[in-house]
């Protein structure tokens, strides 16, 4: 069976694409540019989620502990607490839920301040994921867009895109498609943290609300899709796991950079799903 033609699929959707897909139980894999370092945008919230669970497992924090997020000084973002105005008192685990389900930046940065980048990177080292680094929070990443371009929203000028440090893996949170699928494999095999914590993380990742990327490739009632998206100007990605009705489970990570700088590109979102479907279909043959 010849490998699927991912490149022409990506090209037709107006993007450059990177992909890695692996059968979680057999390790069978397929990919394109699987080991290229890429900015991971909001997908950095996944290693943060795992680190939170490991700290809870170690008794270093109580996931039900409630903290107050004030109205001032929030990380910018379109969803969750970032989009709200008033003071919120909420538990750590509910912040984690918001950070994954709707990609809330304020929830993420509140947890990041509590856990610390060093803890996350040390954890990634212990997993052997040294191509994955968390070097900034969500707020810093968003702020860098304005700093690099010298203006505010929107960022659609091609010359501006060239200047964005957030899109440079050397200066932003970064990973590779293969390391993202390995991280999801650890969560799905109960190896990333305690079995109870991994089960909880799977539930949270399954509650992510976005249907337009990975999930769009599997529009079937009996297939479950869990994951976390990441988005920056021209960068669209999602990593996650697809559960098949016969018990097959596949970790998939897709990164894309669109040729056009337009913000609305449904085909670029959808190709994350179609390429993932193609990859999983290949792994099942």
């Amino acid at each position: 069976m010849s490998a699927p033609d991912f490149e022409s699929l990506f090209r037709t959707a107006g993007v450059t694409g990177w992909l890695h897909a692996a059968d979680i139980d057999t390790g069978r894999e397929i990919g394109i540019g699987s080991d290229d370092p890429l900015p991971m945008a909001s997908m950095f919230k996944v290693p943060l989620l795992v680190a939170l669970c490991r700290q809870a497992d170690a008794g270093l924090l109580d996931p039900a502990e409630r903290i107050t997020v004030t109205g001032a000084g929030r990380s910018p973002g379109p969803t969750g607490i970032s989009a709200m105005l008033d003071e919120v008192t909420i538990s750590l685990r509910d912040l984690a839920y918001l950070m994954i389900a709707v990609s809330d930046n304020t929830s993420a940065d509140t947890l990041l301040a509590r856990i610390g980048q060093d803890t996350i990177n040390a954890m990634l080292d212990s997993f052997g994921l040294d191509g994955t680094r968390v070097v900034q929070g969500a707020g810093e990443s968003v702020d860098s867009l304005g700093r690099d371009t010298g203006h505010g929203w929107p960022f659609v000028d091609p010359d501006d895109i060239e200047r964005l440090s957030a899109l440079d893996p050397a200066r932003s949170n970064r990973s590779t498609p293969r390391e993202m699928t390995r991280l999801f494999g650890l969560i799905w095999r109960d190896e990333a943290a305690s079995a109870a914590s991994c089960a909880w993380m799977r539930g949270v990742l399954n509650a992510q609300v976005w249907p337009h990327r990975l999930a769009s490739g599997f529009p079937y009632d009996d297939v479950a899709v869990s994951g976390k998206t990441g988005t920056l100007p021209t960068l669209r990605c999602e990593s996650g796991v697809v559960d098949y009705p016969d018990g097959g489970r596949y970790a998939v990570s897709v990164f894309t950079r669109s040729f056009s700088t337009a913000l609305n590109q449904p085909r670029a979102d959808a190709v994350i799903g179609t390429s993932a479907r193609m990859a999983v279909d290949h792994l099942r043959r």
């Binding site: 609300v209 079937y220 009632d221 009996d222 297939v223 479950a224 899709v225 009705p245 099942r284 043959r285």
Partner: protein, 305 residues
Amino acid sequence: MDLVRHLRYFIAVAEELHFGNAAIRLGMAQPPLSQRVKRLEEELGVRLFDRSARQVRLTETGRLLLGEAREIVSRVERLHELARQGEGAVLKVGVPPDLAATVLAALVAGFRETSPDVRLAPAEIWTADQVTALAEGTIDVGLVRHPVNAPGLRFGQLLVQAQGVLLAAADPLADVGEVHLADLAGRELLMPPKEGEPGWHAEVLAECRRQGFVPQQVHEGAGLGLVLAGAAVAFGPKVELPGLAWRPLLGSPIASRVSTAWRAVTVAATDFSAMAVRTLKESAGMTDEGAATARRVSRRPGMLA
């Protein structure tokens, strides 16, 4: 013309005084039955039935000829019986007309091996017609699709066969490794005749609907011409035919369940039944019915939002 066969049709209609009922009894459709009775009338140059009233009546001539016809038919039957006794017993078996030729061949060969003294006479009949044929003794044992509603029938071991989808080779879906029922949306479906396979029809169409495939039109038939033409898809076991592609269905949502069926217990019927289970497992990839796994429906956050 096969006069004896036409006389049989005449007798059935004369006894039922209803073309539809007679057709059911004979295990055939009504239009060909009407046609054959008309041909017999042309051959004899008389009218046997008076069809002018709302109900069918025998004409005077018909009444006169009925006794003679019965006499001829029973003598011919006696002739066959004597001939059969000379060459050994016969087991009349009904099989679905869409049963793969290789599987039917394996059944015949298998039975020849286990019961060399009994000749197997297979007839291609759909499940509902097999039920009638079993009731009337036209066949001794059947191979039926479940669910089948027939009080008084006994069934052999239930066997299961996951069905895939047959597509034209040029169908874009032929490029993927496995097809989900929801992927078939917008296509037309070819099924065995609803009258012949009512249980299968209901079961398959309900499952399709549950999983996102409501066929624009359901064609009835056993030939795969419409599939070959790209005008419809069909469900079935794996086959390799030029111009067609077979793909497994994601999640194995459609499974055909078959068993042998009989009314009167005979040694030959029991032997056939046991042999059929073995043969269908070996040559048709059928398996014992396992515990049905509950279908999981994934919960996506948009569903109740």
